[in-house]
């Protein structure tokens, strides 16, 4: 069949997965339809709760910027990222040095 991939240890069939996906989606939508019957669209229930304050009109004031995303991840791996930053110095001669360093490592592995 043109949709089944045999990997050697198992298989992958895209249409089996899509069928499963559609069934699960239908199930989720059915669960969702069983939700609260007192919900009214375009009422106060739709208002954003902003700590009791008026919601700023400019979305820029209430979004988390990309530079703050995964803050905890970066904080936890601070040492790792300090090291990576020091490697990525942005200096052209450093780039060439990394190239020469890799040639040297390969030479150690293959020649000696």
């Amino acid at each position: 069949m043109c949709t089944t991939v045999m990997t050697g240890y198992g298989f992958w069939n895209v249409f089996s997965w899509l069928t499963f996906f559609v069934l699960i989606t239908a199930l989720i939508l059915w669960f969702r339809s069983q939700g609260r019957s007192d919900y009214k669209e375009d009422s106060l229930q739709d208002e954003i709760f902003y700590g009791g304050n008026p919601v700023p009109s400019d979305g820029a004031e209430i979004t988390v910027p990309a530079s703050s995303a995964y803050w905890g991840f970066k904080k936890a791996l601070h040492g790792f990222y300090t090291l990576l930053d020091s490697w990525h110095s942005g200096i052209a001669t450093d780039y060439v040095a990394w190239f020469v360093f890799t040639v040297a490592i390969f030479a150690l592995l293959l020649v000696f």
């Binding site: 069949m1 043109c2 949709t3 089944t4 991939v5 990997t7 050697g8 240890y9 198992g10 992958w12 895209v14 997965w17 899509l18 996906f21 009109s57 400019d58 979305g59 820029a60 209430i62 979004t63 988390v64 910027p65 990309a66 530079s67 995303a69 995964y70 991840f73 970066k74 791996l77 790792f80 990222y81 990576l84 490697w87 990525h88 942005g90 052209a92 450093d94 780039y95 060439v96 990394w98 190239f99 360093f101 890799t102 040639v103 390969f106 030479a107 592995l109 293959l110 020649v111």
Partner: protein, 521 residues
């Protein structure tokens, strides 16, 4: 002789002719230049499709430039392959097809994206020259011409990276790229000199037939592997990629991704078809696997913390190249052992080549989406973007498709190739798929960040005038999306008709050598 026999030369020559004609045609105005550009990009893609079809149906093609035979028999009876040869098997033809698709998608995108800039005659010429150099890299049958075509592609790409020369960042990126690339390419030339000094030939098939693995051959292999790994953006020589990919116009980055795949092609062509079993030990295979793992992890780690969208995607390029190095490195490791080759080696090579194809489709699409965001919102800084899904619905859908594919989410094509790499690399060591899967998770996290910050959230006042990009740009992105959907929905067909012939051609050194030398050398 049928004209189809000239396809290998045409695939290189047509964009080259387009490149040299572009400045002249540009004198006729914007429309003439655009028609010329699009025609040559489309015609090149069509020719590469014909070439791929011809090779798959009829077998490896050998094309002798300027002659009917590869050799010039001497009175002494000595017969050396001295002419310029193009040798195209299924692997090379697949790479040419990839290059053709990326170049056409990029050209379609360029029409509107570059419209307001001056110097487009030079842009068109350099773009087609880059395409020609890249096609030459994957079709050539000899090492010296590989060097020449790499140089052609490199020089064209230096010019394109600094196309926005009023931006100091672009000039700096171009300079760094030029320095590192030139040093690397000089090492390739040195390697060619080592091999030529030993064997009096630069033809890859002839070298493959005669290679004895001594010290000069080892030195040549080191220079070739490291230089080509640098050209494809492998860690720790990847630092030029975020600079160059981020500063080049989006359509150029689209083509630069394909060029990096041509470097990967050359790397594995040399390892499998020139050196092959003569390497003896598994040191090179392990070195490539380690480079792959480092590229995956360091690339994705740097990508997660970026806030500039093209820089983030450039680091993902490094990470994706790591998967391909891992897959093909595992295949190289199993090369000498038929049992291991059957058990996992062939699966790894197929996974690597499938990932190469996938990557060459979804990564350009992601770069084009980043270009579309820049075109519409005038910013590449994710902190400045937000809420664009309502204003740019087509770009949003196309971005989602490419992001899901690169993150390896089922049912997309990235999932299938990663699955093949996970399973085969597990047979070598369990830590390898663990690194690959962690990389995949971080890739997903990274693109969730991009999607959330650029497309979701409330509308920002500064972006209230943003509109969807013009149709030609959507068409360029749509072409790549169509290929991604095809690869996702018909993975088995893709494997059987696109990937397996390429993998078998790569592994079968005897066939590669025999296609040129036939009865012997």
């Amino acid at each position: 002789m049928s004209w189809t026999n000239h396809l290998p030369a045409l695939v290189v020559a047509v964009p080259l002719f387009g490149a040299f004609g572009a400045p002249l045609v540009s004198l006729g105005g914007r429309v003439a230049r655009n028609v010329w550009f699009l025609f040559f990009a489309a015609f090149s893609a069509f020719l590469s499709l014909l070439l791929w079809q011809h090779v798959v149906l009829s077998g490896t093609m050998v094309y002798v430039m300027g002659g009917s035979a590869w050799n010039i028999p001497l009175p002494s009876g000595m017969s050396l392959p001295v002419r310029i040869l193009l040798e195209v098997d299924s692997f090379g033809a697949l790479l040419a097809l990839i290059g053709g698709i990326c170049a056409f998608a990029g050209a379609l995108f360029s029409l509107k994206f570059m419209e307001k800039f001056t110097g487009l005659d030079k842009y068109t010429a350099l773009y087609l020259l880059l395409l020609s150099g890249m096609q030459g890299m994957v079709l050539t049958g000899d090492l010296f011409n590989l060097f020449v075509f790499i140089e052609i592609a490199s020089v064209a790409s230096f010019g394109l990276v600094v196309f926005w020369r009023d931006r100091p960042e672009a000039v700096e990126a171009g300079f760094k790229y030029m320095v590192v690339s030139t040093v690397g390419v000089m090492f390739i030339l040195l390697a060619v000199a080592f091999l030529y000094g030993r064997y009096n030939v630069v033809n890859m098939a002839a070298l493959g037939a005669n290679l004895q693995y001594g010290l000069p051959e080892k030195v040549a292999l080191i220079f070739l592997v490291v230089a080509l790994a640098m050209k494809c953006g492998s860690v720790p020589m990847h630092m030029w990629t975020p600079d160059a990919y981020a500063e080049a116009p989006a359509a150029v980055t689209c083509l630069l991704v394909a060029v990096s795949q041509a470097s990967l092609y050359a790397l594995f062509r040399i390892c499998f078809s020139v050196y092959g079993l003569s390497m003896g030990s598994s040191a090179v295979a392990w070195a490539i696997i380690v480079l792959g793992c480092l590229s995956m992890f360091v690339g994705v780690s740097m990508a997660v913390i970026q806030k500039e969208i093209k820089r983030l995607m450039a680091y993902h390029s490094v990470s994706q190249v790591g998967y391909i190095l891992l897959g093909l490195g595992v295949g190289l490791l199993a090369l000498g052992n038929p049992q291991e080759m059957n058990a996992y080696g062939m699966t790894a090579i197929k996974g690597g080549i499938y990932h190469l194809f996938n990557y060459a489709m979804y990564k350009p699409l992601l770069f084009l989406c980043a270009g579309a965001l820049f075109y519409a919102a005038k910013s590449r800084n994710l902190n400045s973007l937000g809420g664009l899904a309502r204003k740019m619905p087509y770009t949003t859908v196309l971005f989602l498709l490419a992001a899901a594919a690169i993150a390896g989410l089922p049912p997309f094509n990235g999932y299938v190739s990663k699955l093949l790499i996970y399973e085969s690399s597990f047979a070598v060591h369990p830590i390898l798929p663990v690194i690959a899967m962690v990389t995949s998770m971080l890739t997903l996290a990274s693109f969730v960040k991009v999607f959330q910050t650029a497309f979701l959230g409330p509308e920002k006042e500064a972006l209230s005038q943003v509109r969807e990009v013009p149709q030609s740009m959507i068409l360029g992105m749509g072409l790549l999306a169509l290929v991604i959907l095809g690869l996702s929905l018909f993975p088995s067909w893709s494997l059987d008709h696109l990937i397996t012939p390429a993998a078998e051609a790569l592994v079968d050194k005897a066939s590669y050598v025999g296609a040129v030398l036939g009865g012997g050398f």
